[in-house]
């Protein structure tokens, strides 16, 4: 997968909530590359910074969130690179949704209850494609709905007349309205049942193949990620602690946290094992432990862990994956 050219490059990204000494470092020193046509999974517990990262990349952070450093570069198919963090508000308006779109957490509730599906879908087109005629917009809205498997006569429905799964699909249709290069899915199926979840994700992977966009898939459910993504980055306490191909993470997780996370989900098949989860609880971002954020919960913590922060570096002997853990440091 890494053979395809990059479409989004994040380097050294830092995000704080608040200013000055009391600022909370929600995202620290993130380096991440999304390749064209790839599904990149972002896993982590609540407070790990995964949603903040998505909002920072799209410049959607609302105060007191501030991007304090780093760079986010977008590589379009043609033309020059775009530095997302330096766009002004007018450029940002044109950039968002036509290049990167988002499907939010709890998207089922982000539809406006007093407007029909039709008016909400055509609104996107009206704002971004002013030269389209009304008839063209109607046609596009209908084709978008059929793309996600909803019949076009549902255009006249209000959100409350649709089931949760259908609302979620309308949100996906809306995210695809302008043929974006990147779609960020922030916990897209958390509120849905497993049967519906599988249907929607299957449909998304089919659309991804047909329309050729890249996906950043954010969720806490790592077993879901292993199934639906190509590469996975695992976040803990605002940092990426491990990044590798989905299959590799599942087979050999190098970071003790990744290992613990994988063993926090009971398996439906295979032998029934005694599982322990991870002792302790996720760190408080206002009082982060020194050194590696995971060391108070880590069963393998040793001398340097509570003093120095391990860097995200290639695993010795396997250059395609990276891990931030002193156990795997070269020195």
């Amino acid at each position: 997968m890494s053979s395809t050219p990059p479409v989004l490059e994040i380097s050294g990204l830092n995000v704080n909530y608040g200013l000055g000494e009391k600022a909370v470092h929600a995202v620290r020193d993130i380096n991440l590359t999304l390749h064209r046509g790839e599904v990149l999974g972002l896993a982590g517990e609540s407070g790990s910074g995964k949603s903040t990262l998505a909002y920072a990349v799209t410049r959607l952070l609302s105060p007191p969130g501030v991007i304090t450093g780093g760079e986010v570069r977008y590589h379009p198919r043609q033309g020059t690179d775009i530095d997302i963090l330096s766009l002004d508000s007018e450029q940002l308006r044109a950039f968002r949704w036509s290049e990167i779109s988002l499907v939010f957490q709890g998207a089922m509730n982000s539809l406006n209850p007093v407007h029909t599906v039709r008016s909400q879908l055509t609104d996107v087109l009206k704002a971004h494609r002013p030269d389209m005629t009304s008839a063209q917009r109607q046609k596009r809205a209908a084709s978008l709905l059929s793309l996600v498997g909803i019949s076009a006569d549902r255009l006249a429905s209000y959100p409350h007349q649709l089931s949760g799964g259908m609302r979620q699909r309308v949100m996906i249709a809306m995210a695809l309205a302008l043929d974006p290069e990147i779609v960020i899915l922030d916990e897209p199926t958390t509120a849905l049942d497993v049967v519906m979840q599988r249907q929607i994700l299957k449909q998304l992977s089919r659309l991804r193949r047909e329309l050729d966009f890249s996906v950043v898939f954010i969720t806490h459910d790592i077993s879901l990620l292993i199934e639906f993504s190509d590469r996975i980055a695992i976040m803990y306490g605002g940092r990426i602690v491990e990044e590798a191909a989905a299959k590799e993470i599942y087979q050999t997780a190098h970071h003790p946290y990744s290992h613990g996370l994988l063993h926090s989900f009971p398996a439906l098949h295979g032998p029934r094992r005694e599982l322990t989860g991870i002792p302790g609880s996720p760190p408080d971002l206002t009082a982060m432990p020194p050194g590696c954020a995971f060391h108070p919960r880590c069963p393998k913590a040793f001398e340097p862990c509570d003093q120095r922060v391990p860097a995200l570096e290639p695993v010795p002997g396997d250059g395609s994956r990276t891990v931030a853990c002193w156990l795997h440091a070269d020195h």
Binding site: G149, V195, D221, I222, S223, G277, I278, S281
Partner: protein, 378 residues
């Protein structure tokens, strides 16, 4: 029970034989009346939501019974019915073999002493303006377990917190809920339930609001309590894999009815009912994916066929309305194996091997071809 104050933890009654039924539901149902509107204001037969219909289950000492279902399947309603938070519309509840029906006041309180409920959201179930000490003391006092002196109370509090592994107790007693993490809060909620020294614990999605890495800690704690105190636990969940991990017996609900039940291992490994089969095949399972990942990618993007297959399942992908549930088996509009009889007659329970049962006409004595559940799951 427990009229004399004794510190929690000392089981005063002689331990009953393994597997004794503590709480039993016999064909209970619950219908909620739909809100009055202008249109049906004068109507005598206002429509009702059939939240739970004809559900029977037994909770045994020292055993965990899981109820698995989608949202809206009525699984939380069952927990609330068993806790008698609202009255049943039909059927009977039996506590220690005696029919019970409590309203409010003294009878309800006596019932609570034996049957305690834990909620899903530990952020909402603890009062943010009170300390852990207040929450636990109140529960102990209400259930006459606080002892006579301040020292007794202090000892009882410490014991409760130790039991849920919040040690040292002094560190937590005077904390407010906002000072605790989600997992610690849920432990306090469990300690509060244990303050009554109940024989039945009803856990309504006790871990689904918690961070994934601490869920198993709570489940292991509940299992530990079950074993040490010989509790009967009802575990309500939407996650069938966790039911397999945690529960001895698993019951599957669909649209207000029980569709399958039996030993957890049997139900999850050899599901008999088509709905359970759909549920187990939909659950994320990395093992299967890693196994067939390569197979899936070698297949060319044969869009056409895949699309047809997906769109078929999409139209049939939603649970039915419970105001006018489908006739016959409630799963028949989505069922790939539906027969004529499924549309008209409600299937009764058919017993299969090893205590497994399924409410599905496929397993009727006179069914044309009676599949074995093993085959069905394949």
């Amino acid at each position: 029970m427990a009229k004399t104050p004794d510190p929690p933890g000392t089981a005063t009654n002689s331990p009953p034989s393994e597997g004794e039924v503590v709480l039993e539901a016999r064909a209970i149902s619950k219908h909620f009346a739909v809100r009055r509107t202008l249109r049906n204001f004068a109507d005598r037969n206002r429509p009702v939501v059939h939240a739970v219909d004809d559900v029977s289950l037994k909770l045994r000492r020292g055993s965990v019974t899981a109820v698995v279902g989608e949202s809206g399947s009525g699984k939380s309603t069952i927990a609330r019915l068993l806790a008698q938070l609202y009255p049943t519309s039909g059927g009977q509840l039996l506590l220690h073999g005696k029919p019970t029906k409590v309203g409010q006041g003294r009878a309800f309180r006596a019932y609570c002493r034996q049957v305690q409920l834990i909620f899903q959201d530990p952020f909402g179930s603890l009062n943010p303006t009170h300390t852990v000490r207040y929450h636990l003391t109140r529960a102990l006092r209400i259930h006459n377990r606080a002892g006579r002196t301040a020292k007794d109370l202090e000892q009882a509090l410490a014991q409760l917190l130790e039991r849920v592994h919040l040690t040292p107790p002094e560190r937590y007693l005077d904390s407010f809920p906002h000072e605790l993490s989600g997992g610690q809060r849920q432990r306090v909620a469990i300690a509060r339930a244990m303050a009554a020294d109940p024989s039945v614990l009803l856990a309504d999605e006790p871990v689904s609001m918690l961070d994934v890495s601490i869920r198993l800690g709570i489940l292991n704690l509940l299992r530990d309590l079950k074993e040490r105190l010989n509790l009967a636990i009802l575990y309500i969940t939407h996650d069938i894999a966790s039911a397999r991990y945690f529960a001895d017996e698993t019951l599957v609900m669909y649209a207000g009815r029980m569709v399958e039940g039996g030993d957890s291992e049997t139900v999850t490994q050899r599901p008999a009912h088509p709905y359970t089969q759909l549920l187990t095949s939909s659950a994320p399972d990395p093992d299967r994916i890693v196994a067939d990942h390569s197979a899936a990618t070698t297949v060319d993007p044969a869009g056409g066929e895949v699309v047809v297959e997906e769109e078929e399942s999409e139209t049939a992908g939603e649970p039915p309305s419970l105001i006018s549930p489908p006739s016959g088996c409630r799963f028949h509009p989505r069922c790939p194996k539906a027969m004529e009889r499924c549309r008209t007659q409600v299937p009764p329970r058919f017993d299969l091997a090893d205590g497994q049962w399924a409410a599905c006409w496929l397993y009727a004595e006179d069914a044309p071809e009676r599949p074995a559940p093993q085959e069905a799951s394949a």
